[in-house]
Symmetry: C2
Subunit: 216 residues, 2 copies
């Protein structure tokens, strides 16, 4: 028996995760993801990179019946996901991300991940740079970061044996306040329903690489 030949490589395992991630709209209502496992999942997601490591992502894990009732009218086209999922994770991006600059870089020094002098140079430089950008530029940057963390979260969920559906069609005007967050500060990125699939899901078409890529 050729053991090596039977073992999948990391690349193969990874591509299996990636390719088996499909948008799932109906979940097994009996499957509940524990707070411990959800924390592990989110802990993997937040290893994502972000602009100057400001980690602007904020999550609301909507899992109780009461919270799902609050969500339902705000996600009217997606009632199956709200009803049958283990949870719906509302991903927000924090406009006040710069408030955490000192803390994040200070912790990096404290943990020996960054020399003190690097922090002493970078913190004022970043503060100077980011204080000068418009609200709109700030928003666009943190939405991109929100996309990064959301993708990593969906792939992690799949690797943990769960399924997801990214939902962009919801009431972005009212979602923050509905969950007690300041509307001007917390910008909605997307909802991600998560649970164990109770349907096969669809394969969907992608334009080929050649169509969306130029080589220079």
């Amino acid at each position: 028996m050729d053991k090596v030949g039977n073992e999948m490589t990391t690349k193969e395992h990874f591509l299996n995760v990636l390719e088996s991630r499909k948008s799932i709209r109906i979940y097994d209502e009996n499957v509940k993801i524990s707070k411990e496992e959800m924390t592990e999942l989110l802990g993997a997601a937040i290893k994502a990179p972000s602009s100057v490591n400001l980690q602007p992502w904020r999550f609301v894990v909507i899992e109780s019946d009461e919270a799902k009732s609050t969500l339902a009218p705000l996600a009217s086209f997606n009632q199956n996901q709200v009803k049958t999922s283990s949870a719906v994770i509302a991903v927000f991006a924090d406009m006040n991300n710069l408030d955490y600059l000192e803390e994040i870089y200070g912790k990096a020094v404290e943990l020996g991940l960054m020399p003190e002098e690097v922090k002493e140079n970078q913190v004022p430089a970043i503060r100077g740079l980011l204080s000068g950008i418009s609200n709109q530029q700030n928003k666009e940057t943190i939405l991109i970061d929100g996309g990064l963390v959301s993708m990593q979260l969906m792939l992690t969920a799949k690797a943990f044996g769960y399924d997801t559906n990214p939902i962009g069609g919801f009431d972005k005007e009212n979602i923050a306040e509905a969950f007690g967050l300041e509307k001007e500060r917390y910008v909605p990125v997307m909802l991600i329903s998560i649970g164990k699939a109770n349907e096969a899901g669809y394969k969907s078409y992608r334009m080929p690489v050649e169509q969306v890529t130029e080589w220079k």
Copy 2:
């Protein structure tokens, strides 16, 4: 010998990929990723989900000396990445994403992935919905999609044995035109340098899950 006990699970392989992805700024200049392998990498990345599957991502793979010379002054804080990487992938988001709606949904029908009647319902509904949104809303949606595909690309690169660095600090005003793209149409998302690491890279601090998450 307990073979099963020695084999890593998919989850472990996946988390290894995720956790070993670090921002790498200096690459082995001798390593060139072939066009074939880059196509495979991008092909995995574009399996990412996007808003109503419009796949607004567009890539410019900057790999020739000439193209890197064009890029260098536009990415002045990131000369090491430009110089030593195998390529820098400029990720753009296409404001005219709706132009591809009919093609994408038509191909899905042609390939048997979507029933004709679903397409006939969805295409006008989506067109109606998206024709009504502002340019700014369109831009924000496609930037989030750009974040999704960028994260999947960086993880795929790591699974293939390559390293990356997401770069947000570059001349967003001039990058599209420098590579022959219409500036009003193609919105820059980020640059991603890619190659084989020639440095260890840094670990960086993340705020704990409890700090960025509420449970409802």
